[in-house]
Amino acid sequence: MTWSARISQRDYEQLIAHLHPGDDDEHAAFLYAGETATPKDHRLLIRRVIPVPHHDFGPSDRGGYRQVAARALARAAIECETEGLRLLWAHSHPGAVDHVRFSGPDLATHNRAHPHMINMTGGRPVASLVFGTGSVAGEVWLPDGKVVELDHLDVVGARTARLTASPLATADTSARFARQVLMFGTKGQATLRSMTVAVVGAGGGGSLLVQTLAHLGVGRIIIVDFDRVDVTNLSRMVGATPKDARRRRLKVDVLRRLAHAIDPEIDVVAIAGDITYEADARALLAADYVFSATDTQFARFAVNAICHQYLIPGAQVGAKVVTDEDGAVRLAYAMHRPIDLGGACLECGGGIDPDAVRREQLNDAERQAQAYVNAPAGGDIVDPSVITLNSAAVAMAMLDFQFSATGMFPPRTRLAQRIYHAPERALRDRQAATRPGCRWCDRHAVGGAFARGDDHPLPLRPGSPPRPNLTGVAERVRRLFAPTECWSTEPGAQRGSQCTESIKVALFGGEPRRLRSDWGEVLVGLIRARRGRRVKPAHRELRNT
């Protein structure tokens, strides 16, 4: 099991400015971190940087060069123990550039101090990092006495970089990327290939994102959406065909096909799920970047939470068309809201409507009872949507992603929200500021979630969505059962005849020629056998057989 660390670009720049101010001397800092464990590695998530002031870093009286005062360490340990964070300490080696390693005195200090530092911080892992100007080496000391070398430090934000103790060998890139390599360099292209990018929402915006990511050469794409293609999607969902709409294919399956058509070597993880449920949301933790291209505010809230809690940069893309009562277009704009982990989050930046998040969690009865303002009678609001606006939003987001992932933005770049007002042909930036106390982006907020990783519960629905994730024949059966499931959960509904009727509609009214008759017999037989009971158990039984 490897250990790595992750720090936001803003914090890294603050740290390096302190450790390497240009005076060719050694400097030190404390880092407070959360932690997350994935199947592949453990990751320390740096929440705050605490520079050790000059008066606490005087000459060593133990034979070393300099010395972090015991009082400074005690203060840091108390803060970490109180806040439930891991204590990391960092120092610089002046003169080290792209190679760095611990010196003998450094290692002796680890042996002498680290076991006690673990106790001082409540039995949590501690770590030491040494920084060159473009390199880092580290050791993680675990409570069970093991010592693990830090594999790398990821700097995330507008200017992404992976730092190691010495430069990584760069693999040759495929000839298909020859023209891109001229812009990104071999290292930049290799970085894109090594990345995992998640796209939440597989509709108009999501399909354009997946298409562009596949062309750029991103190595692994996670796509999450529970929805299916219908005929109204065909005007703006890249890769979807009339056949997909007739068959009501899952959108994620269509986009997997699209990505593989562009580049068969891409690893595509298609999840017919809902990230407002914790189990599905956890799939995003493997991502290096998350795009939100979903219409729902709750999903946007989930992306915002995951990105800040686990230090994953990302962006929200969207388009909006507002018409008046006569149908005339009043507003038409494309929007790109970056999550660069250095500034305001989507909540502080006005990208999430808190009451809409609440409304989206209501059940049908609650929604009817609350009858919120502007709700159409008996149906969802259907907004205008057009591929050109989606394309504009995706273009802005993908440019930022490309420059960020390949480290091409200059230092101290901050990404503002960007809106393209189509009727005015005007591109405008919108600056947003962190709200003091914001639990997502204020790293000093008491009980805040920024970079807390697994220490902080994700405020999402527990478990998985009540929608089985099936494929092939089982998926076809699931589709047939969908109307009966909906019906059977309604209180007071008569069971039996309506249930069978639903199946008949699905079997013979929907797409009779595309169903094998034996499946219809199996289904009707199961319905009869389960008459008066919920259909879902029968469905599970079928799946087990």
Partner: protein, 214 residues
Amino acid sequence: MHQSEKDPTSQTIGTPVRTVEILVNTKPVCVSSEVTGAEIKSAAKVPADFKLFRVDGHREVPVGDEEQLHVHHHEKFVASPTLDPAFVVSPTHATAIDTVRDAFPAHPVNVDAPGDGTTVITVRNIDVGAGWNVTPIDLTVKVHVTFPSSPPYPFYGPAGMARTDGRRLPQIQPQVQLAGELRTQISLMKPFNPTVETLGARLVAVVGWLRDPR
């Protein structure tokens, strides 16, 4: 918490002495309710050179080794070491590196400490003149743990250095290994007296020779 001078009568007129459980570095430790800082460290089995602090909310309050404390049940203390990093193995090497930086103020100076006690110092981008097939060069010297008793020698440039006029110099070996990399070895040896010469001055002398190798 009350701090008091050690007074043998205090036990009879004040709170009676009893055993209490306190937390030192988050671990429970049993001590007498009247105890010194040194006794707390000893009971917690932390090294005597650690500094003891009483935790007061989010603040740390220093406790001297001889300081007499009256402690309460589950009162928190932190016993903290110093952290003593060093980017080179010894302060002597650090001082020598400073002299190199002083001697080449316009050039980056890279330092690597391989962990065997040596320090590898490289001065970047030094112009050695048109007489060489490569310029500017990175000039490297490996300083041993016994420096300055042992002189700084040899020096290294990029692999394949040669005179443009074809002259072969006995001091130049264009293909040698240093830490797994091919370099040119520059074998300029002369006595090194640390009382009158610094490492920076020696490197300046090497650069002077490279610019005019006679």
